[in-house]
Symmetry: C2
Subunit: 103 residues, 2 copies
DNA sequence: GCAATAACTTACTGAAAAGTAGTATAGTTA
DNA sequence: TAACTATACTACTTTTCAGTAAGTTATTGC
């Protein structure tokens, strides 16, 4: 917790309240993925934003990054325990969108 | 639904995935509030961002705005049915932040 | 020895978000 | 008549976000 927040919601949004973070976390719910595979699942994300976002998620301890020392490089991302604890929320957000855009 | 989304989560984040929107919605969960009162509850928000954000929430049908034709002006905001349907999510996000920042 | 590879980085640019400060409103109160 | 009120709007500036395109790495396959 690097900032004071008057409301825990504020704290949560600072962690995951951006365009791409929830998407990336969501696509990791089913298990770890190789960098390139994960990126292809996030339609519309640029290479730069992808790297930048997973880096932030890693810094915040929501995902882990495993580098295999091979050539060409191989990197795998997966949810940390902390990231996993967001599962219910991520699915609820997804579900809400599904229900809502019917109307 | 004004855009195509490959994932409902994306749709949801486009609606409420900003710095202030969830905060404002959250503080309306207990009932409608007068503009000035609501704004004072959102610590750190500027007058401009407040007006701009409630306007967007209103445009998206998440809150309603009732104007009383008196001087000085009196304006009240409250959650619409659509906004209310976010209650579980807002509380879950808040709760998650509470739990998480213990560690 | 030269291209292809996967993951990442950097420089540059443009767009969007957010903050500051000031203005308008029009009745009521002093 | 002048200050006060609650709400909102505007112009301006600063900050952050995001995209493009190019460069880096070290090994393999041709």
């Amino acid at each position: 917790m690097n900032k004071a927040h008057h409301c825990p919601l504020n704290y949560t949004m600072n962690l995951i309240g951006t365009k791409w973070k929830p998407l990336i976390l969501f696509h990791l719910l089913e298990g770890g993925l190789r960098s390139g595979v994960l990126q292809k699942k996030i339609l519309g994300i640029s290479n730069k934003m992808f790297t930048q976002t997973v880096r932030q998620l890693e810094d915040d301890g929501l995902i882990t990054r495993k580098v295999y020392p091979v050539v060409p490089p191989k990197v795998e991302y997966q949810l940390s325990a902390r990231g996993q604890s967001l599962e219910a929320i991520l699915r609820a957000l997804d579900q809400w969108g599904l229900e809502d855009c019917k109307s």
